[in-house]
C-alpha cells in the first residue's frame, strides 16, 4: 500500500486523474466552440429571432392594422397606428407600425396573435447597435427585414382556397356573383 501511494505521489496521479479529460482532448483535438463570427450555428426553423413584417406575393403588406399584436404583447413593444387605405375606403392598414426591440422578449405571442400571419420571426439575431434608438424600428425597417428573411411569399388570402375566411378586401375587386 505504502509503495503504491508513494508511486502515485511521484507521478502526480491525482492530477492525471483530474486532467484526464483535458489530456485526452489534447491529443484528440475536436473543438466545440464555434469561431463566431467566422462560423455560425445552423438554427432550427422555429428559432425566435428578430421580428419582421411580411408581404403577400403581389408585394402588398399583409398587416391589416388590427392591433391584436399590440394587445398580445406582454412588454408593450408594439405600437400600431391604423387607418383607412387611402383611396380604398373599405380597407384598413397599419399607417404606422413601431417595435421597440429593446423591450422585446421574443416570446412570439404577437406572431401567434396575428390573424393574417403578417408577423414572422426571422433567424436574425445580430442586432447589436451602438445607439439604443436604432432598435426602435418602424414599418419600413420591419418590412425590409421580412423581405430579406422570407423570400417566399404567400398568396393573398382570398386567392388561397375558397374556404379560407378572408377580409379587408375591396368589394369592387370581387368577382360578380353568379345567379
Amino acid at each position: 500500500m505504502k509503495l503504491k501511494d508513494w508511486i502515485k505521489t511521484i507521478i502526480f496521479y491525482e492530477i492525471l486523474v483530474g486532467m484526464n479529460a483535458t489530456l485526452r482532448h489534447l491529443l484528440h483535438y475536436k473543438p466545440i466552440t464555434l469561431q463566431y463570427p467566422h462560423e455560425k450555428r445552423s438554427l432550427p426553423d422555429s428559432y425566435r429571432g428578430m421580428l419582421s413584417l411580411l408581404r403577400y406575393d403581389d408585394g402588398t403588406e399583409k398587416c391589416v392594422g388590427c392591433d391584436l399584436c399590440e394587445a398580445a404583447c406582454p412588454s408593450r413593444v408594439i405600437k400600431v397606428i391604423s387607418a383607412e387605405v387611402p383611396g380604398e375606403p373599405t380597407k384598413r392598414y397599419a399607417k404606422e407600425y413601431y417595435m421597440d426591440m429593446t423591450r422585446c422578449l421574443f416570446c412570439g405571442l404577437c406572431v401567434q396573435a396575428c390573424p393574417v400571419d403578417a408577423l414572422g420571426m426571422t433567424r436574425e439575431y445580430e442586432w447589436a447597435v451602438y445607439d439604443k434608438r436604432h432598435l426602435y424600428l418602424n414599418k419600413e425597417q420591419l418590412l425590409a427585414i421580412g423581405d430579406r428573411a422570407f423570400p417566399v411569399r404567400e398568396k393573398r388570402l382570398e386567392l388561397q382556397h375558397p374556404n379560407v375566411a378572408f377580409f379587408n378586401v375591396a368589394f369592387t375587386h370581387l368577382p360578380p356573383k353568379d345567379n
Binding site: 388590427c66 392591433d67 394587445a71 375606403p89 390573424p115 393574417v116 377580409f167 379587408n168 368589394f171 356573383k177
Partner: protein, 905 residues
Amino acid sequence: MALKPVTTPDIEAATVELSIDGRTVSAKDGVSLYDVISSTGKIVPAMCYHYTFDPFGSCGMCLVTVEGKKAPVRSCTAKAAAGMVVRTDGDDLFQARKKAVEKHLSVHPLDCPVCDADGHCELQDMAFHHQVTNLANAKQKLIPEDTRSPVLDFNMNRCIACGECINVCKDVLMIDALQFIKKGGFTQVVAKGDTALACEFCGDCLAVCPVGAITNKFSKYLYKPWQLRKTTTTCNYCGDGCQMHLETKDNEVVRVTSPLSWKNKWGDRADTAKGHGGICVRGRFGFQYIDSQARLRQPLVRRNGTLPEGELVETPWLEAMQAVVDRLAEVKAAHGAQAIAGLITARCTNEELYLFQKLMRAVIGTNQLDSSSRYGHLNFVRAVRHTLDVGRMTNDCEDITKAKAILLVGTNITETNPLTAVRVKEAIRVYKSQVIVVDSAQTNIAKLASYPMIVTPGTEGLFVQGLVKSVIEQDLIDAETTGKHPEAFAALKRAVADVSLEAIAARTGVSVEHINEAASIFAEAPRAIILCAEGIVRRPDGYQNVLKLVDLAWITGKLGRPGSGVNTLTEEVNEQGAVDMGAAPEYLPGQARFDDEAARDKFAKAWGAALPAPSSGANLMEILERCRSGAIKALYVVGENPVATLPASLEVRAALEQLELLICQDPFLTETAQMAHIVLPACTYAEKEGTFTNLEGKVLRVRQSMDPIGESLPDWHVMTSLASGLGSQFEYESSQDIQSEIMKLLPGYYNLGEPRKLSPKPDAYLSNGYVAEVGSRYGVVREAVSERNGHRPFGLVMGQLLYHSGKLSTQASGLITIAPSAGRLHMNAQDMERLGLTEDSRVRVTSGQGSLEMGAKADLSVMPGSCFFPEHFNDPPVKDLMPVEVDSVTGVPYFKFAWVSIEEA
C-alpha cells in the same frame, strides 16, 4: 308600435303572478316577459333588445321555456300572463341559443381584425359565451359598403338585422331615417328610400349597433376599443349639458360615445324620463376642434407698436404674463380701475366664471364685466328673478317628459337643444302630451306637434299676448291663484282690455280660433310646461315677453303646481352658471343683487377687498360704449368674440381699436384676438377640470381627458397667476380649491346631478309692484325691429343650425363636413319660384343697414315671406344687416332679426 302598459303611467294594468325559475314574481299584465325576467336580476342574453324601445324579437337569443309550449319562446315578444311557469336556464336552452348565434355567424364575415367593433361586439361576446367554434355552412354576403353618407358607413355584411338602429331612430328619436330593405337576397339597413343618409346625424344608431355594421367615418379604422382611454365628461356645446365619454388615444380624441349603447340595454322604460343617454351630432361628431391645428399653442404678444402695424409674436408664458400684469397695472395707475373691463364666455366652467368676476371685482376693482348670457339668457333670469324670486327654470327635464301640455314659444328646439327635444318627443310619444309650437318656421318639432302655430316672423311675443287675452276672454283662469291677488288680476284685466284678438290674429297670421284652442289646451292641462327660447329672449321686448309668459302661467294656475312652470333653453352650455357665478354686473355669486348691502358685505369680507361702487357697473353694451368713448382703456376678453358676433353697426372693431390694451384668452385666434395686444392660449373643456351648470340647474362634472395642447393653460390657472401678479394672493392649486371656496360661499350649489327643486314665489311681486308694471306691459305692441313695409317683405332670421353651436363648432372639421359654410340664404321654395330664383342663383339681400350678395337655397322649413341664415358663419357677414336694439331693462342686444328685400343679383 303598441306601447307596453308599464310605460304609460295613465294606463293601469292588472297585476299578475307568474313563476320564473321556481320563484313567484308579480308583474303587470301584458308586459314583455323579458322585462319581467330582467327585473328579477336574471340576465337572459339578447341582441336586439334595448329598454328604450319596444321589443323587436329578431335575434332569437332570449329563449326561455314556458310550460305548455313545446318549443322555447322568445321572451322579449312574449307577454307576461297569470300563472305562467317560466324556466330561463338549462342545457336545452343553451343549445338553442347557441344555434341562434351560429345562425347569425354563418352569414357574418368574420372580419373582426379590421372591424371597429372588435372587442366591443355583442356577437363576439355571444359566440364566446356559447362556445361557438365551428360553422358548418358559412357563406359570405359580399355586399359593398355603403359609404354615401358623410358621417356613417354601413357595412351590411356585418349586420345581424337586429333592427336596433331602426327602432331607436323611429321610436326614441322620432326621426325615422332608416329602414330595412331586401336587396341582393339579404335584409339590409339603408337610409329611407335607399339614398345617401341625410338625417340629424345624432349617431344613436351607431351607439346601439351591437356589431360593426354602422361605423363612424371620422374615426373609422383609427382605433381598437382597448386602446382608448374613456373619460366621462359634459358636452360643452348647448345648455342641455349631456353626459358623454371622450375616448382618447395618445392625447388625441378619437371618438365620442354616449351612455346610450348596446352595452347597457337593461333598464326600466320609465327610466327614460331621466334621459335616454344619447347625444346629438354636435357632441358625437364635433370633437375635432379640441386637437385642431388652429389651436393656439403659445402666448402671442404684439411687437413693434400697436394696431395695425405691429404683429403678434410668439412669446414665452413668463414674458407674456409679465407684460399683461405690467400693462394692466399701468392702466390702473394712470386711469383708475374704472378704465378696465372684462368679458367672458359662458363656455367656461363655473370655477373660472367665479374666479373671473372675483378677479375683476376684488383684484382690479371694477364692476364692468359681462358674460355671453347677456345675449339672451339674462332676459329670462332677470324676469323670473323679478317676478318669481327664482333664478333659473323651475322645472327639471323629467317634468318636460311627463307634461300633458307643452307650449314651445320661439324655439327650434330640435336644432338648438336636441336632447331636450328628445324629451318633448317622448312626452308626445309615451305620455301623449299636446304640444303647441309657436314659431315662424316649419320646424321639425312643429311637424310632430299637435298644434303647430306658424306665426309671422317676429310676432312670437304678440302671440303670447294673444294667449293671455284668450285665457281671460274664455274664462280659463284658475280662480284659486288669481283669487289670492284680486287687485293684480284686475290690473291685468285692465291692461289687456284694449288688446284685440282679431288684431293679433291679423298680425301673427294665426286665426283667433287657433289662438283660443292653444289657450284652452294649455290652460286645461293638469301639467303644462312653457319653454321659451331664442324667439322670445333674443328678440325685441324679450324681457317683457318673458313677463307675459309668467302672467300666462300665473292666471292659468300653473305657477308652483308640480310639473308645470315657465322654462327656457340656453344656447351655450354654462349660461346658467355664468349668471349663478355672478359674471354679470347686476349679480354677485348666487344671484345676489350687486347693490344688496348684506351680500356685498359678505363677499367683501370673504374676498378681503372692498367691492366697487354699486352704480359703477357696466354690461356688454355699456362696456362697448365706454370703449368707444375712451373711458375704458383696457379690456380682458376670455373666450368671447364680440367682433364676429355683433353687427358692424355697433362699431365694435372701432371701439376695440381705441383701447390701449386688449387681452384675449382663447383656444383659437378669433377675430377679436387678431386685434389684441396680448393673446393667451387657453385650454378647451377636454383639458381641464371643473363643472358646468346646465339649463335645469344641474351641476355637472367636466373631467380632464387629455393633456393641454401646446403650452395652453386652463383659464383658471391664467387668472390665478394674473391675480397673483397684480398683488393679490390667489392660492388655488386646482379647480377643486376654487370649488371649495364656492361651496363655502354658496352652500348647496354643488348638487352634482340632483338640482334643488325650486318653487316660484310670485306672491311678493303680485301684491307689490305688479299693478304698477302690468299696465304698460300690454299697452304698446310694436312690431319687430325695423317696421315691415312694402319694399322689405321678407323677415330675415339669424339662428342656429343643428350641426353647429356658436362660432366654436366651426373649428370642428367633422361638423364642417356635415354642414359647411355655404354662404347661402335659406328661402322658401315658393318664394324662390316667385322671384325666379334657382339653386345656383345669387341674390342681393338689402336691409335698412346695408346690402349683401349671397347664394340662395330652398329650405322646406322656411315659410313664405321669411328667410334664414345660420348665425355661425360670417361669410358673407349677414349679421351686419341686422338692426340692433338694446333692451331698456336688461341691456340685452337684439340683432337676430331684420326685414329685408331680396332680388336676383
